[in-house]
């Protein structure tokens, strides 16, 4: 079905179901309970996870398949955001034209940058993309201020033309919407003391990310994807057989740039604001972190990485000294205080330290990321099962073929 094998189809369906049920699944703890802070089922976080999944899945098409490590992908994200904001300001608050334009503009931008950067490979390619992204960032801050509104960032204003929309008489800024369905409208359901929030914006992001995931899956399974893998494994041999690798890598670069532009456009659609800091190289670094942490070159890896980083960023930044003190309250003071001090280094403001350490550990010991970690654990279980003879009480789930 849909041009996928049975296994892939099952995998895609699981992803779709998980996406649909996320507002429920991510809210396992009752409101008012001590564990409520670990809930992730609120719209803002889920939107971010979906958007960054798109970004990372797109980045993975370039890095995972061709091995070209781009350190400048945030530039496309930023360009997409700006493009979407201009559509909101000039045309309409409907998100479709905005997202469409952001993808197109990011694609054109990626074509330009890719055409130049892909003349070199390896470390040179990384530095070239880094240079381009830093250049765009600096330009967005200085020369292009009429387009980007410099440091303040591009925002909606009451007197924007918005030619397609009815005149705004309410005196407040209009909301982004999909044919009248506002992105920030939420259906709240209370059930067993849990508050489930079904947010329109999240479902838009989620559905788009499933579609993008499907497209990426098709690319991974296509002859084109095979060609990209060939570039990664040995580019010289490929050119000896008479194939020019550059059109393929350029296509991969543009596609991943368009993914990033889409993510940027969605970001602006969820929160109508675009600033230059989205293009900074730390933002490019973040998507690299997500992809590597999850597992580069796998289908599931980037999504896992994006979800993992965004979730723990959210959780960790909430854990402050007071929370820690309440956790260790059962200990005597002379143990409690040093423990709290130690943990406080890694939580709250220290989240980036934890992330950096985690990232180093993953690169050193687990180059395949979380996906490889999961497979290793799975294999460990299976070996035990083989040794045990009759099979254990809890048969392990077979590792999905697609997450290789």
């Amino acid at each position: 079905m849909l041009g996928l094998e049975k296994k892939d189809m099952r995998f895609l369906l699981i992803v779709l179901l998980l996406t649909l049920a996320a507002p429920i699944l991510l809210n396992p703890f009752a409101e008012n309970s001590a564990m409520a802070q670990f809930n992730a089922g609120y719209p803002d976080l889920m939107q971010r996870i979906a958007i960054f999944s798109i970004f990372a899945v797109g980045f993975n098409i370039l890095f995972g398949l061709t091995g070209y490590l781009s350190f400048g992908h945030a530039a496309f994200l930023g360009v997409g955001s700006y493009a979407a904001m201009w559509m909101f300001k000039l045309l309409s608050m409907n998100i479709l034209p905005a997202i469409g334009l952001s993808v197109v503009i990011a694609g054109v931008f990626a074509l330009l940058i890719g055409y130049i950067s892909l003349r070199r490979s390896g470390i040179y390619f990384s530095i070239l993309t880094l240079a381009f992204a830093q250049m765009s960032f600096n330009m967005a801050y200085s020369v292009l201020t009429p387009l980007t509104n410099g440091e303040t960032g591009l925002q909606l204003a009451l007197d924007d033309p918005r030619v397609l929309d009815a005149a705004n008489t309410s005196g407040s800024l209009p909301d982004t919407s999909l044919f009248g369905l506002a992105m920030n409208s939420t259906l709240k359901v209370e059930f067993l003391g849990r508050l489930f929030q079904f947010n329109v914006g999240y479902y838009v992001c989620g559905m788009i990310s499933v579609v993008m995931f499907y497209i990426a899956l098709r690319i991974f399974r296509s002859p084109f994807g095979m060609m990209l893998r060939a570039v990664k494994s040995n580019q010289h041999r490929m050119s000896y057989t008479g194939l020019n690798a550059r059109p393929y890598t350029l296509a991969a670069f543009v596609i991943s740039g368009m993914y990033a532009g889409l993510a940027g456009g969605l970001m602006a659609a969820m929160d109508p604001l675009a600033g230059a800091e989205r293009m900074q190289w730390t933002a490019s670094g973040e998507v690299v972190l997500m992809t590597i942490l999850g597992g580069a070159g796998t289908m599931l890896g980037p999504v896992l990485g994006a979800g993992f980083i965004k979730y723990f960023e959210n959780i960790f930044s909430k854990i402050n000294d007071n929370v820690l003190h309440s956790w260790f309250a059962f200990l005597p003071h002379w143990i409690q205080d040093p423990l709290v001090w130690l943990f406080a280094r890694f939580t709250g403001e220290g989240w980036h330290l934890t992330l950096g350490l985690l990232f180093m550990l993953v690169v050193i010991f687990l180059p395949g990321g979380l996906v490889e970690g999961g497979q290793r654990i799975g294999r460990l279980f299976r070996r035990k099962q083989g040794a045990g003879g009759d099979g254990p009480a809890h048969p392990p789930k077979p590792a999905p073929h697609v997450a290789e």
Binding site: S121, I123, Y124, L130, Q134, M135, H352, G356, M360
Partner: protein, 343 residues
């Protein structure tokens, strides 16, 4: 004309920092073949060595002076730094005043040790792995170092002044026949420039005129043959990593009076230093130094108002534009050698 000379001078001190970092990057790349994304963090740690030194020298004990009263009527608290107590008032004050130059004494051993630990503990295991992995692990290390410094010293820039003797400016214009105050250049920037020339000269003569340096150069050219001759080249390369770290650290320590250090200064410099290395030619030491000064000066020229009125915003992007042009027209860089990092 005077504006051009002034901008040349302004470019030279920034160029010195670029050149020193790029020199270290190239030393590491040329010897170990590793792309060190954590080199900017080493520069930053060097800068914070200066901050630490200043704080350390300013450690004081408090005495109550019963003969004087503060405005609340309580006995006045007199803070006396320990250094003043130990060495007498004048010598102590002079030591505190000279804390930034003195911090070099702290920066060199700290950075050497940090360099050794980094190389032996981490980088060593990445020689056989792809360049992408090396970039990623050093990138992670850079984040970790940066966050540790942020937790210890806070997120705000910490002003760390130069000795008062150098706080003024030198009227260079008057010395070479321009009207007074046409070209005014702060003393410390001049010192920084001369200092960087000294460090660069020291590194080059170390490589040129010592047996150790000769072996290292031989190892850079052909590592295997040097190993076959019975020389433990790994140990020498480890030392070179330490030296490269120390160069970055010294560059950082001396830079603090020019720009107050903050925890992300290293990253800001790193991106440009990479561009410098690429423009100079990967693996070429003279190329890195030349490109560092060249880009620093060009950046300063581009911030001239006359230039900016022709191409607005050029001062922000000139370095990247040059890098792109160089990479496309002369992919090997200005002074790059054949066969280094050519796919």
């Amino acid at each position: 004309m005077d504006a051009i000379i002034l901008q040349t001078l302004n470019g030279l001190d920034k160029g010195s920092a670029y050149a020193l970092i790029a020199l270290g990057l190239t030393l590491i790349f040329g010897t170990l073949g590793v792309v060190n994304f954590a080199h900017g963090a080493l520069f930053m740690i060097g800068a914070f060595c200066a901050v630490t030194m200043q704080r350390f020298l300013n450690l004081s004990y408090t005495l109550l002076d019963p003969t004087k009263k503060d405005f609340l009527g309580n006995p006045l608290k007199v803070q006396t730094p320990y250094v003043e107590h130990w060495f007498g008032h004048d010598t102590g004050a002079a030591i505190i005043n000279w804390s930034v130059p003195l911090s070099i004494l702290l920066a060199i051993p700290v950075m050497l040790i940090l360099g050794f630990v980094m190389e032996r503990g981490l980088i060593k295991h990445f020689y056989k792995r792809p360049h992408a992995d090396q970039i990623l692990v050093t990138f992670g290390l850079a984040i970790v170092l940066q966050e540790i410094v942020k937790q210890v010293f806070g997120a705000n820039p910490i002003p760390t002044p130069a000795p008062v003797e150098f706080s003024g400016s030198l009227d260079i214009g008057a010395l070479i026949g321009f009207p007074a105050n046409a070209i005014v250049y702060p003393y410390w920037r001049l010192i920084y420039f001369l200092f960087s020339l000294g460090v660069i000269g020291a590194v080059f003569s170390f490589l040129r005129f010592t047996t150790f340096g000769m072996v290292v150069r031989a190892g850079m050219a052909d590592r295997e043959t040097v190993g076959l001759l019975g020389i433990n080249i790994d140990r020498r390369f480890t030392l070179m990593f330490g030296i490269a770290a120390a160069v970055a650290g010294m560059a950082g320590a001396m830079y603090v009076p020019i720009n107050s250090p903050n925890y992300h200064m290293g990253m800001d410099f790193l991106v440009i230093s990479f561009v410098v290395v690429v423009v100079g030619g990967m693996g070429s030491l003279p190329g890195a130094v030349a490109a560092g000064f060249l880009l620093g000066v060009l950046e300063a020229y581009a911030s001239l108002n006359e230039v900016k009125s022709i191409i607005p915003g050029i001062d922000q992007i000139i370095i990247y534009v040059i890098a792109i042009i160089v990479l496309l027209t002369r992919p090997r860089g200005l002074m790059g050698r054949r066969g280094v990092m050519e796919d």
